[in-house]
């Protein structure tokens, strides 16, 4: 945690300085008769910089041992697979479409990560894709991305 706080403090400090600098550089601080569009962003950046500095200094001084905040071993692997599959799903949304994507995503997670049998996996996948299609496409008329195959 101590380590993470140091990194977060430094990153937030840099972000805050950039934020305030951009506010002063690009947007008017004071407009006709009142504060301009750069006024509040500038002060938000200043306040964030102050808090980030406090976080950073506090973490430097802390003697508490740095507890790990990311899981190790199996937990990290599970997290990586779930996140990876989700990112792949979103990245390929326009290629494979929502329906096919849903099925592939569930097969990847249920069959290959959790080790369910094909029957359970395909049953859940078919039901989910069906409900999804019914609720969003038929009822709410959301045009989902479709695959190159047309569904």
């Amino acid at each position: 945690m101590r380590h993470a706080d140091r990194i977060a403090g430094a990153a937030l400090l840099a972000f805050a300085i950039g934020f305030s600098a951009a506010a002063l550089r690009y947007y008017p601080y004071w407009g006709p008769g009142g504060p301009g569009s750069g006024f509040l962003p500038f002060w938000l950046g200043v306040a964030m910089a102050a808090l980030a500095l406090m976080l950073f200094v506090g973490a430097l001084r802390s003697r508490e041992p740095g507890a790990p905040w990311l899981p190790a071993g199996a937990g990290l692997k599970r997290l990586a697979v779930v996140l990876g599959a989700t990112v792949a799903f979103v990245a390929l949304l326009n290629v494979v479409g929502m329906i096919l994507g849903t099925v592939l995503f569930l097969v990847a997670l249920l069959k290959f990560l959790e080790g369910y049998g094909w029957l359970t996996t395909l049953g859940v996948a078919a039901a989910t894709a069906g409900v999804n299609y019914f609720v969003f496409t038929s009822w709410l008329r959301v045009p989902f991305p479709v695959s190159l195959l047309g569904f």
Binding site: M1, A4, D5, A8, L12, F19, Y26, Y27, P28, G31, G34, P35, G36, S37, F39, L40, P41, L44, G45, A47, M48, L51, A52, M54, L55, V57, G58, R61, S62, E64, W69, L70, P71, G75, L76, R78, L79, V82, L83, T86, V87, F89, V90, L93, N94, M98, L109, L110, E114, T120, V124, N132, V135, F136, W139, L140, R141, V142, F144, P145
Partner: protein, 500 residues
């Protein structure tokens, strides 16, 4: 007039869907009312706003009932407002008294929920009329108060709470400025010019972020076997005598805690539990299956969830994290939350209030008669539920504007939500700040335009002064504590972050 709206077949159906889904969401560990409301928000876009809020409010009430089931039977709170119920509820279940534990929670919840709606009905119009006289300085001071109290009370670390809040305010600056028309921090990307959208952020932080935390470990739940059929949940005369005043105290306490901006159901339950322990004639029984320890907090959380709607509807500042998401929903439906809501959209407000009475009756029946059914639903393994929630996050984020950009945004905030949760930041404070940011900025700038005394205007007008001082005081308490912690390197013992 409200009932004629709430009783239309479609609105009744929506209330039914809300209470059933809400009870399930409350019962399932890992999905709480905040994630539930965020995930179901996209479904409401095809509806009339009144039907939409009826469903979401019924879901909120339902989740307060449902959380109890898991606390009592598995010793795992289904949501954070049922954490204290585990203490005595699980002990009761171990002694074979799961039925009365669930029964008293349901009856207490019903009394508290109904009382809460009644108070909501009586208090709100007067509060809204009073708030009508607010000018920009009062509005800004009120929002400041909402922001500082929410931030001060949520999360284990006040410094990180304020960092979360500032991050939310900074994100709310992105996009077209309402007054000057400047496209701030958009970097020439058209999607950024509209600002950071509330819905993908809420779904990401509370839906995907929550699931990623759960994805780390395969959870295994053991459900305590017991009898909780219709006859078993009935209370004995002795149980009723012991719990009736606990229900009354929990109800009144819970409602007023809920009304306070920032203090939602979770805090109400903790206070109700310690109150019961203090007034009890046999405090030694607490922790060993005292029925008052279930009755008080379970009543308090329902009263508080109704109370939290008072500031949301009348002042436009939410009383809890869940109502913060609802507030975002209101704005997406094109309604302007605040005192004018009662004048301009009476059908919306009264339809909502009437439907809450109906939802509480439905929940009473549902939770007395159908507990075995909900227990069966708990057997759905988390590792099947988890990918389903992710798919729901993706479709939900996509459906508002049919945009893959929004899905990407949801993904980014999902990862951020995971990190925030693991590192002790407050996603609730970020979300609230993102919702209130543009409104607060407008009020601030209008105030400074009409002011001759600069920032002094917030101290020269009486109502604004009281609100500003209260906001600063709310900020000062944890700020002093945080400063002390930063200087001395000492740490307070962690308090669970409320998620409601």
């Amino acid at each position: 007039m409200g009932f004629s709206i709430a009783l239309t077949p479609f609105n009744l159906l929506m209330a039914t869907v809300g209470v059933i889904v809400g009870t399930l969401i409350g019962a399932l560990p890992g999905v709480g009312p905040v994630s539930g409301v965020a995930l179901l928000l996209p479904l409401t876009f095809g509806m009339d706003p009144t039907s939409g809020i009826i469903m979401l409010a019924a879901l909120y009430a339902g989740s307060m009932y449902g959380g109890t089931i898991t606390s009592v039977l598995i010793n795992t709170p289904g949501e954070s407002a049922s954490v204290v119920t585990c203490i005595d509820g699980y002990q009761m279940a171990l002694q074979g008294r799961a039925g009365p534990a669930l029964g008293v929670a349901t009856i207490g919840s019903f009394i508290a929920g109904t009382f809460g709606v009644m108070m909501l009905m009586l208090m709100s119009p007067a509060l809204a009329r009073w708030a009508l006289s607010f000018g920009p300085p009062e509005t800004f001071a009120l929002m400041l108060l909402g922001l500082t109290t929410v931030t001060g009370l949520t999360g284990e670390n006040a410094l990180k709470g304020y960092i979360s809040m500032l991050l939310g305010l900074m994100l709310s600056m992105v996009g077209f400025d309402i007054i000057s028309g400047d496209a701030r921090y958009a970097f020439g990307i058209p999607e950024m010019m509209d600002g950071v959208d509330f819905l993908p952020v809420a779904i990401g932080l509370f839906g995907l972020g929550e699931v990623l935390v759960g994805a780390e470990g395969a959870t295994d739940m053991r459900i305590l076997k017991g009898r909780y059929g219709l006859r078993d949940v009935m209370l004995s005369a002795n149980d009723w005598v012991r719990s009736r005043w606990a229900i009354a105290r929990g109800t009144v306490l819970g409602f007023f805690i809920g009304v306070l901006p920032g203090a939602g159901p979770t805090i109400a339950t903790f206070l109700a539990y310690s109150l019961e322990k203090k007034v009890s004639r046999h405090p030694e029984e607490f922790g060993k299956g005292a029925i008052e320890g279930v009755a008080g907090p379970e009543s308090a959380n329902n009263a508080a969830s109704a109370g939290a709607m008072v500031p949301m509807l009348t002042l436009g500042i939410p009383g809890s994290a869940t109502t913060a998401i609802m507030l975002g929903g209101l704005m997406m439906w094109g309604l302007r939350p605040g005192p004018l809501l009662f004048e301009k959209n009476p059908e919306f407000v009264w339809g909502l209030i009437a439907s809450q009475y109906i939802a509480n009756v439905m929940l009473l029946v549902l939770n007395i008669a159908f507990i075995p059914m909900f227990v069966r639903a708990l057997r759905l393994p988390y590792n099947i539920l988890m990918p389903l929630i992710i798919i729901f996050c993706i479709t939900g984020a996509y459906s508002q504007k049919n945009s893959v950009w929004d899905v990407g945004q949801m993904l980014v905030f999902g990862v951020l939500g995971y990190a925030m949760k693991k590192l002790g930041y407050s996603p609730a404070a970020l979300t609230l700040a993102l919702v209130l940011g543009p409104l607060a900025e407008r009020a601030l700038r209008q105030s400074l335009i009409i002011s001759d005394a600069g920032l002094g205007i917030f101290f020269l007008r009486p109502i604004a002064a009281v609100l500003t001082v209260a906001a600063l005081a709310a900020a000062a308490v944890p700020a002093v504590r945080a400063l002390w912690a930063a200087v001395s390197g000492a740490r307070r013992p962690p308090v669970p972050a409320p998620e409601d």
